[in-house]
Every structure is written in C-alpha cells, then in structure tokens.
C-alpha cells in the first residue's frame, strides 16, 4: 500500500467457538476490494462486522479516520451510526415501500427533509437507469432491477465504505452478465472504498482492483487478479483459476512432492515451493514418454468431461491432476474412468515460485 493511510483499515477478529475469523482488510478511497473465498470461509461474517451488525471480539475497524469498533477500549459504533452502505445478497428491499421510497429511506433516516430525500432518491434511480420504475414495489421488479435499486439505496447514504454481499449471486446467467458490467461502472464512480464479498472468481476479477482470498477465516492470498491467477497459493485458488498446483521441496530444477513424486521445472529454486501448470500442459500417452526431459508419471483416469472445445481428464496416481486433451486424443486413447495411462509435463510449461 502507499504511504497515505487507507480509508479503511481493519483487523477483524470474531470468535465463534468452532470458527474463528481473523483477517486484516484495508481499502483506499476509490478502491474496490473483493473478499473471495469458498462458502463458510467467513466472508459474510467479515462484512457484517464491518457494517456494525456484529461486534468484533478482537482487532479494530478504522474508517475515514474514525474508530468504529475496538473491543479493547469497549468502543462499538452501531450500524445506524456508521458511514457504511450495504447491498445484501437478497437485497432486502422493503416490500411495503416503492423503489423511490426504498432509496429515500437512508437519506430520511439521516435527517434529510422528505422532499429533498425524494429528489435525491429519484436522481439515484435515474443514475441506475430505473427512473421509470420509481413507483413500483420490489415485488414488481425483476432480479436485476431489484439489484440496482438496492445499489442505489446503499449509495444514497453516500457511504465512505460500500459493502456488497454476493451482489450477483441472486441473478440468472443473463442478468448477471448485464448487471456485472453495469455494477463495474457504478463502483468505478464511487468515491469511497468498496468491499465486495463473493465466491465467484469472475465477479471478483471483473469488479475488483484487488483480491483478498479468504479460507477458514484467514487471508491465504492477496493481490491483483494477474498476480493471483499467475501464482495461486492454495488448492482453492488454483481450482478457481484452473491450474494444477503442487507444494513441495525444491532442489535446483527438481521439486519433490509428497516425498515420492518429482517434478522438473526450469527455474532453480530451493526450499518450500509451489509448482503450477495448466491442464492443457499435461500430455497423455498410452506408453511412457520416450524423451526423459519432462516429468512423466503413471496415473489412472477417474473422470472425463467436456471442457470447452477440449476434454478434461481427472487423473489419480502419485498426485491428482487435471489434463485437457483434444477430442481426437481422447478418442485415440479410448479414455474412460479406470483406464491406466502415462502423463507428462514439459518443464517449460510449469511455473515454480517460493511458498514461504
């Protein structure tokens, strides 16, 4: 981060007995940060703590120079007094109020006069392209429209921190595509910090400037989309970005995984390392490969499925791996679960980087 203090600087600790959330989150003004992780990783808990719907058990939250939560000094600013706006996963638009009344609700609660609040709300609805639906109730709006009303409602309180919980999860594929592009535009216009929580890597990579990957309540990786996709650091991230990932000990250009399996790489590294390679880099043969330069191992097919124009093969053996082969190769090898065969990876196709 830069030398200037970020707008949001927080260390969130929430203890739930069996589950403990412990993560540091920061975001600069105008920055969009995505908390990306599997279900149950603690993303929504983090969002609720930031919004003031859940008190911290430890750590602190600083937003725009103000301390919002600090269990050590028993300081806790409740949700209604925080400069935050939340777009909930299922939007939670008030069903008895029209779209414009929903959007005007926040400004009204923050002391804006009725007429002024309505004008502001109408202006926000116009910005999200829903001016003509202002007098509809949430039940009469489509999923995408409801999402935009929820966004307008959260932005109408001019939050220093905008929080979005799985903003696109409730939409169908078509609505998601349109809404994602539009959401990106609105987030870019938002002057404050934005934190969005998602389990969809595409949402995170399209919408966010920086990703924070959370697993089991902890940050496992942090960085922009390019860095995360190039050098995944956990099985989960590797799966998200579609790479085979192994952790092992490096000794020159050989990496030993699980004491028994060795991979040949190009960059010489020593110590704890990761090796990643795309499924398309894995070649499958009926016989052991003749040239000894790459890594070659014997595996068993455990699954075969279509993947784009190719066929994705799941292999078990000394390590599990994914391999993408052309339909022609698949037909030639007569791929089916249980089939033993040989797999190989050329060193040039692998990427190795330190794990420590």
């Amino acid at each position: 981060m830069t030398a200037t203090r970020p707008l949001l600087e927080a260390h969130l600790v929430v203890d739930r007995g069996v589950f403990r959330l412990d993560l540091a989150v920061s975001a600069a003004a105008g920055e969009v940060v995505a908390l990306l992780g599997p279900n149950g990783a603690g993303k929504t808990t983090a969002l609720r703590a930031l919004a003031g719907l859940l008190p911290l058990d430890g750590g602190h939250i600083d937003l725009a120079g103000e301390r919002l939560d600090d269990p050590a000094t028993r300081r806790f600013l409740p949700a209604e007094r925080r400069p935050t706006g939340v777009v909930f996963q299922d939007y939670l638009l008030f069903p008895h109020l029209t779209a414009v009344e929903n959007v005007a609700f926040g400004p009204r609660c923050r002391g804006v006069r009725r007429r002024e609040a309505r004008e502001q709300a109408t202006a926000w609805l116009r910005r999200v392209g829903l001016a003509e639906h202002a007098h509809r109730r949430p039940g009469e709006l489509s999923g995408g429209q409801a999402q935009r009303v929820a966004l307008a409602r959260a932005l109408a309180v001019r939050p220093a921190l905008l929080l979005l919980d799985e903003p696109l999860a409730a939409l169908d594929a078509r609505g998601r595509l349109d809404t994602r592009a539009e959401l990106h535009r609105h987030l870019a216009d938002h002057a404050g910090a934005t934190l969005l929580v998602t389990h969809d890597p595409l949402d995170a990579m399209v919408l966010a400037d920086r990703l924070i990957i959370v697993e089991d309540g902890r940050v496992v990786q942090e960085g922009d989309a390019t860095a995360v996709t190039a050098r995944p650091r956990t099985e989960y991230v590797a799966r998200l970005v579609g790479l085979n990932l192994y952790r092992g000990r490096g000794a020159g250009t050989t990496v030993t995984v699980d004491d028994s399996f060795t991979l040949t790489v190009t960059e010489p590294l020593h110590g704890d390392v990761f090796v990643a390679f795309p499924p398309a880099a894995v070649a499958l043969h009926a016989e052991p490969a003749r040239d000894g330069a790459g890594t070659c191992w014997r595996g068993t097919v455990s699954g075969v499925e279509r993947h784009g124009d190719n066929v994705r093969v799941r292999l078990t053996g000394p390590v599990t791996a994914l391999a993408d082969v052309t339909p022609a190769t698949a037909a030639e090898l007569r791929l089916h679960p249980g089939l033993p065969l040989w797999a190989s990876v050329a060193p040039a196709q692998t990427r190795a980087y330190p794990a420590a």
Binding site: P78, L92, F94, C109, V157
Partner: protein, 284 residues
C-alpha cells in the same frame, strides 16, 4: 397396462363393481372422519339456529329500542374498542420484546403472558379486584393519592377486558414478528435507522396483517367478556353492564329479551369477523 392408463380414474378403481360404489370411492373421505366432522359442525351451528328460531321477529324492533339494550350495546362496543386499543398499545411492544430480544427469564415471561388465556375469567376478575380494588394493593394507593377508583366503573370494564384479551394480541403479533425476516431491520440499521425508526417504518408495516388479526381476535374476546367483568366491575346498567351481562340478567327475568340481546351480539360478532376475515385473518 396401456389400457388401464387410458381409462378414466374412477373406472379403473370400480372395475367390476357397482356404479354406486364407484362414485363413493372417488370422494375418498373415510366415514370415521366424516361422521364426527358432521356431528361437530351440527353441534356448532345448532345452537345458533335455535337462537334464530326462538327470536321474536315480530316484536324485534320494539325490543331493540327498549331502554337499556342500546345502552348495553354502546357500552360493549366502546369498552371492547378501548380495551383493544390498550391491548395494541401495550401488547405490540410486549410481543416485540418476546420475539426480537433475549433477556433472562424470557421463556417464563412468555408462559406468564398466556396465563389469562387459560385462567378462568372469574379468577382473573378476583385477581384484578385484589390489586386494583379500592382496598387492593394498587387500588388503595390510587384511591388515596389520585382519588381514582377503578373497580365497579366503566374503566374497570375496560381493564377486565384488556386483561383477558391481551394474550390473543400478543400471541398473534409475536407469531407475525417471528415470521417476518429480522434482516429487514438490519437493512434499515445500515441505512441509518435507529431501532425505533426501524420498528416504526419497517417492522410494523411488515407485521400489520398480524397486528390486525390479533386486534380482531382481541376485540371479539373483549366483546364477549363476562366473568372477569362481572367480578371486577359489577353489573350496573349504563355504567358497567355490557351486552353479555345484560343477556345474563335478562335470562333470569325475560327470556325473550335475552334472546334478542344474544342475537344482537351474534350479528355484531359475525359481521365484524366476516368483514375482516378475508382481508386480514387469512392474509397472516
């Protein structure tokens, strides 16, 4: 198999049986359920029919305008309405506390709230007398300090009716609150609403059908209140004599008058229920 599938459903069942038997098989309800159900229905409706049969229809207008009848009706409607207002004002917050917060002894409080529901109303009246009576725990103090007497007054009628009717409202509203998603209140909080604002502008509109249903039940219970009222407020015409009390009194002197008063009470209750049922009770 194909032939069976194409045959109409009753023909499939009644293969080789008499047409009569076939028709009965289609209705499906076993006699062991139908017979008690019909007896129950008759038992519920027969007394009402009896009331209609014995009503002196020819002298009805005179009897309705007889002195005392309209007074009792007015008092009944007024006190039941006031009791319902008190129940709503006190009962909705009580239901909110039970549904939305947690405090030590909450389960006990919830159980205690429903006590008036199962308590014989006469016992409720005695209990009210012991507390709010002129020589009661609070009544004596109220009398001495403010000169306020509750027992044997119209206020006493409202108090007695409130006591027996409040659980109906609390239970209905608590149920509605539990069914309403509390996250709407969280959404309101993130928009800057205090808990009171969230309650007033979000929760209350969401549970309005439940409050209305509870108020209707509450009002109907208050309108029919007898035991607690006669014990705590007595039976003074024009002051504490509500319709049920007037019916009871008339029964001992003039059966025809009792029938007419009962009919009025029946018509009022059914009219209110019928008028509100479709809008609120079924909606909740």
């Amino acid at each position: 198999m194909t032939a069976l599938r194409e045959a109409p459903p009753d023909a499939r069942r009644g293969d080789g049986r008499s047409p009569n038997r076939r028709r009965r098989a289609g209705s499906r309800a076993p006699l062991l359920l139908v017979v008690p159900a019909v007896i129950g229905l008759v038992f519920l409706l027969l007394p009402l029919a009896g009331l209609l049969v014995r009503t002196p229809w020819t002298t009805l207008p005179q009897r309705l305008t007889a002195p005392g009848v309209l007074d009792a009706l007015r008092l009944s409607l007024l006190s039941a309405t006031l009791a319902t207002i008190v129940c709503v004002v006190l009962g909705v917050p009580l239901a909110w506390l039970l549904a939305r917060t947690s405090f030590p002894g909450q389960r006990l409080v919830r159980a205690l709230v429903t006590v008036p529901l199962v308590l014989p109303p006469v016992v409720g009246g005695v209990a009210l007398l012991l507390v709010f009576g002129r020589r009661g725990l609070l009544g004596g103090w109220l009398d001495a300090t403010f000169g306020v007497t509750l027992a044997f007054t119209t206020t006493g009628v409202v108090l007695a009716e409130t006591f027996v009717a409040m659980p109906f409202l609390v239970i209905a509203v608590e149920g509605a609150l539990r069914a309403a998603d509390p996250r709407f209140e969280e959404a309101a909080a993130t928009l800057g609403a205090s808990r009171w604002t969230a309650f007033r502008r979000v929760t209350l509109p969401l549970v309005a059908p439940g409050v209305a249903a509870g108020a209707v039940l509450c009002w109907a219970r208050a309108l029919g209140e007898f035991g607690a009222t006669i014990t705590f407020a007595g039976n003074y015409p024009g002051r504490t004599q509500t319709m049920p009390l007037a019916v009871y009194l008339a029964l001992e002197t003039d059966l025809q008058a009792a029938v007419v008063l009962s009919l009025v009470l029946l018509v009022v209750s059914v009219a209110i229920l019928a008028g509100l049922r479709h809008r609120w009770i079924t909606a909740s």
